[in-house]
């Protein structure tokens, strides 16, 4: 077996050999301990420092020449998987292609070099951009007012629930319960807890839609809101949404929409038109900022007129003389939810994306996202089990069912790596499923090669299951022992 160095997987420590160095330091002309001790033996140099605090030897840092160091990191960077290099069909995350013009806009020194403490009259440009972004998102959501402050989707959920709670409190009601369908994103119940509300589960019907009978049973005068993702996490649009809104509104409860799947409806329908009172928009997903692995996100919240007095301050406004400013005068505001004004860089990308596509382009993007998902579902039907009937929105779930072969969704995901496809979301929201979201920008050729690959893997699962169960075969790292890694984590290199 090849050593880790021969495989190109070595750590810097393993590539180290004594005497190599990537930098040439000038001679030390500063006394490092006390005046006049340079050149003395360490014992004399550090006189007065307790022996227990002195390291006996220098730390064992890797010793590597400059070129080897450059190659080490270049090799690692080539292994980075990104949507710029390969197809990335990660359901529920909208890992779409992020047009490079967004990066050009966000890197303009006129935006980059602003300081958040500059007075409004010096930063009219960014204020205009933020104001227009707010107006665009209001138009897209069909809601009265948007705050750009929240820094991510879950932060938007928290902000929305705080606004809804403030609204109920303002009416003298402390509605403690928030309803969440059993197919919800995990952040929904978590946001309830963070906002001191109690999450209650609402059942789904076998077709993936909300069980209206269960909803009617659970909504009462203690219900603050229902948090609903629509299209939902199993990929279908819940056409009962109007009834759902009515059931809630009759009891004075609010309909909150998790905007995770907004990519399916831009310019086609507006949440405000089907009864949504409050929603967050993951601008990093739908409006294209590179994200994942920790950021950056942005989660503007859109609300009805009923809820707008409670939005965070400051709000960016356009004054009657045509200039832009910050408005702090909102007596009922929940206050600030973030320092300064939100994730400005993500919002600049969002603005650039909306402006470069325009209303027709946005609608076209959503139509293509929906078409791509339904095309893939149609091609894969018969090879995988599709537990929910179409038509689908912009994503769908499928379950590998290969009888006694023992091939699971994990094995399919690992085998996809051999073909340079990023594995889709796994095992959620339905056990053993794969959730596939192709997004709007993949060509028919890419969609077909992905479908061909999954069909080939389905055949392998039946005919040569071990080939699938031992995948990946062509990746730098083979099947990892996740159980041992979790039970006995080895987190530090040791010689």
């Amino acid at each position: 077996m090849e050593s880790s160095v021969e495989q190109g997987l070595a750590l810097l420590f393993e590539e180290s050999s004594a005497g190599n160095c990537a930098v040439s330091l000038p001679p030390n002309d500063v006394s490092d301990a006390r005046e006049g001790t340079r050149g003395l033996k360490p014992a004399a140099r550090y006189e007065g420092i307790p022996a227990g605090l002195l390291a006996g030897e220098p730390p064992p840092l890797p010793e590597i020449g400059e070129q080897d160091l450059v190659r080490h990191y270049t090799r690692l960077s080539h292994r980075t998987f990104s949507v710029d290099a390969n197809f990335y069909p990660l359901g529920s995350c909208t890992m779409k292609y992020n047009p490079k013009i967004n990066e050009a806009a966000a890197s303009m020194p006129e935006f980059l070099n602003l300081h958040p403490y500059q007075p409004a009259d010096q930063v009219q440009g960014i204020l205009e951009l933020l104001y227009q972004t707010r107006v665009f998102l209001q138009e897209i959501s069909g809601l009265a007012e948007v705050t750009l402050q929240p820094a991510a989707g879950a932060h938007g959920e928290m902000t929305g629930l705080m606004v809804i709670s403030a609204y109920h409190r303002d009416r003298g009601e402390d509605r403690i319960n928030v309803l969440v369908p059993d197919s919800a994103h995990g952040t929904n119940p978590a946001s309830c807890t963070v906002c001191s509300r109690v999450a209650q589960t609402v059942a789904s019907k076998p077709n993936g839609r909300v069980d209206l009978d269960d909803l009617r049973k659970k909504v009462d005068r203690n219900t603050a809101a229902l948090m609903l993702t629509n299209p939902n996490t199993v990929g279908v649009f819940d056409e009962q949404i109007g009834d759902i809104a009515d059931i809630l509104h009759k009891q004075g409860a609010m309909l909150y929409m998790d905007g995770a799947n907004l990519n399916a409806m831009l310019g086609i329908m507006r949440p405000g038109d089907f009864g949504v009172d409050c929603m967050h928009i993951n601008t990093h997903k739908t409006f294209s900022t590179p994200h994942g692995c920790g950021g950056p996100g942005s989660g503007p919240v859109a609300v009805t007129n009923q809820l707008s007095p409670f939005l965070p301050i400051p709000q960016v406004i356009k004054k009657s003389d045509g200039t832009y400013d910050w408005d702090e005068n909102r007596p009922k505001t929940i206050g600030k939810v973030r320092s300064f004004y939100g994730q400005i860089g993500v919002l600049v990308r969002c603005y650039a994306y909306i402006r470069s596509l325009g209303p027709d382009g946005l609608r076209n993007a959503s139509e293509k996202a929906v078409l791509s998902a339904n095309y893939l579902a149609a091609r894969l039907k018969g090879h995988y089990k599709l537990p929910f009937a179409g038509p689908y929105a912009h994503e769908f779930i499928m379950i590998p069912e290969f009888g006694d072969s023992g091939v699971t969704e994990l094995d399919i995901a690992k085998r996809l790596i051999d073909h340079n496809f990023h594995p889709p979301t796994m095992s959620w929201p339905v056990h053993h499923c794969l959730m596939i979201e192709p997004t709007e920008t993949e060509s028919l050729r890419t969609l077909d090669s992905f479908a061909d690959c999954l069909i080939k893997i389905a055949r392998e699962a039946k005919e040569t299951p071990d080939l699938v169960k031992n995948a990946p075969h062509h990746a730098p790292v083979k099947r990892l022992d996740e159980v041992a890694a979790a039970r006995k984590p080895n987190l530090r290199w040791q010689a």
């Binding site: 095992s427 056990h431 996740e482 159980v483 979790a486 039970r487």
Partner: protein
């Protein structure tokens, strides 16, 4: 994968072995299989109070973290401390070595609300 007849069950997949006022609790084989390889079990201390329908601990697998629920209220009289070193027992011996806690029940009537093995097996055919 049938759940054994000698105990009672919750819909959240905990088994309850009732012996007088002592109830031993663990999770079913179906739950363990769904979670896949268990890596960590977080249990309460002896003496802790447990409420029916409320979480008493957490279980972690390579796939997910879930809460552990008791179907009955009571005081913890014993905890299976071996699971700290052998979380894999939950997968290999769900109904035996992987018991989690023993409770002294404070409201024995709650036992009647639990599912029988038949009811559980019908609801979750595995």
């Amino acid at each position: 994968m049938n759940a054994p007849n000698d105990r009672k069950y919750t819909e959240s997949h905990e088994w309850h072995l009732v012996q007088g006022n002592t109830v031993t609790i663990g999770i079913t084989k179906i739950a363990a299989d769904q979670l896949s390889d268990i890596t960590f079990v977080d249990l309460p201390a002896v003496g802790a109070a447990v409420t029916a329908g409320k979480a008493f601990g957490e279980i972690e697998s390579v796939k997910a973290t879930s809460e552990l629920f008791s179907g009955v209220s009571g005081k913890v009289t014993a905890v299976n401390t071996d699971l700290a070193d052998h979380p894999e027992w939950v997968n290999s011996d769900s109904y035996g070595k992987a018991w989690m806690i023993k409770l002294q029940t404070t409201n024995p009537a709650e036992v009647e609300k639990l599912l029988s093995a038949d009811q559980y097996n019908k609801k979750f055919p595995g």
